[in-house]
């Protein structure tokens, strides 16, 4: 499945998925978190998604299950906190450094100048070649390479990749 097909079939329902997540989690930040995580998972499994007949229903069920997992892990964590607080000073939280790193990269991408961000997303998300991006944007191949190189360098500079 191409990036464009993915956007047409699944990304188009992002608002609906967000509202369902918000209803369950009752938090803007957690709902956004859940929806973003859902889309990353969908993207990773995109090659199998062509068989999905109803993307909207599929996505709603997926986001609901994700939100339920979060609710369950949250209530489990609270119980553990209570128990371990009494026993030791160590935090019961799992290592979240991987997730933090992920968030940092996403934040870095959001903060890129528009042209760099556009080119990066077209390359990474849509999987377009330089020629294809050049055709769509009107920018030369050389300009595209420079923009992409700058974008990656800025992300690497943050010492997160």
């Amino acid at each position: 499945m191409t990036g464009e097909e993915f956007a047409d079939r699944f990304l188009v329902y992002s608002d609906s998925f967000y509202r369902v997540a918000l209803y369950i989690l009752e938090s803007d930040a957690d709902a956004k978190d859940a929806v973003q995580e859902m889309y990353v998972r969908l993207w990773k499994a995109r090659d199998t998604l062509s068989a999905v007949k109803n993307p909207k229903s599929y996505g709603i069920v997926m986001v609901r299950n994700l939100c339920l997992d979060k609710l369950r892990s949250s209530s489990y964590r609270n119980t553990e906190l209570l128990r371990t607080d009494m026993m030791s000073e160590e935090t019961p939280y799992e290592d979240i450094s991987g997730k933090e790193r992920f968030r940092e990269v996403a934040k870095a991408i959001s903060g890129l100048p528009e042209r760099e961000r556009t080119v990066l997303l077209m390359k990474v998300f849509d999987g377009l070649t330089y020629d294809e991006i050049s055709e769509r944007t009107g920018m030369s191949n050389l300009t595209l390479r420079v923009l992409l190189s700058n974008a990656r360098r800025k992300i690497r500079k943050l010492k997160i990749v």
Binding site: S14, D15, V20, D28, Q36, C67, L71, I155
Partner: protein, 136 residues
């Protein structure tokens, strides 16, 4: 009050869809943009892990080749250290032959003695076993 997980799990799909279509619930303006950023981040990070695996593979292959080269070199040098098997001078050839036979003989003697010892032990065990089976 936190929603009941059981109720949410049992909620029918049409009801969840209706919730999703409720336009009165405001959605963050940058939601789609942030989703795309997250997807791009996941792609970039998985590129890095592929690079790391490839780097480890390269190191392994190089290490293996180096070890193989050292082993081959060892055998070649070892072979060079062996005595010649062709001689120009017949007398030199005869001396080398005598020396080789003596070497083999020296090595064989302790081996033959060991075999004799072992046969004695086997005979003894056989005799004991024989006594045991006869007494039944």
């Amino acid at each position: 009050m936190a929603k009941n997980e059981y109720d949410i799990a049992k909620m029918p799909l049409p009801e969840l869809e209706k919730m999703g279509d409720d336009a009165s619930v405001i959605v963050p303006a940058d939601l789609k943009e942030d989703i795309l950023s997250e997807i791009a981040a996941s792609e970039i990070l998985s590129e890095k892990s592929v690079e790391t695996v490839e780097r480890h593979h390269r190191r392994f292959v190089l290490g293996f080749c180096a070890a193989a080269a050292v082993t081959v070199l060892f055998f070649v040098m070892d072979d060079m250290g062996r005595p010649k098997d062709t001689f120009d001078d017949p007398l030199t050839a005869y001396v080398e032959l005598e020396r080789t036979f003596q070497y083999i003989s020296d090595k064989m003697r302790p081996g033959v003695e060991k075999v004799d010892e072992l046969s004695r032990v086997i005979e003894k065990s056989g005799a004991v076993l024989g006594k045991v089976t006869d007494n039944r």
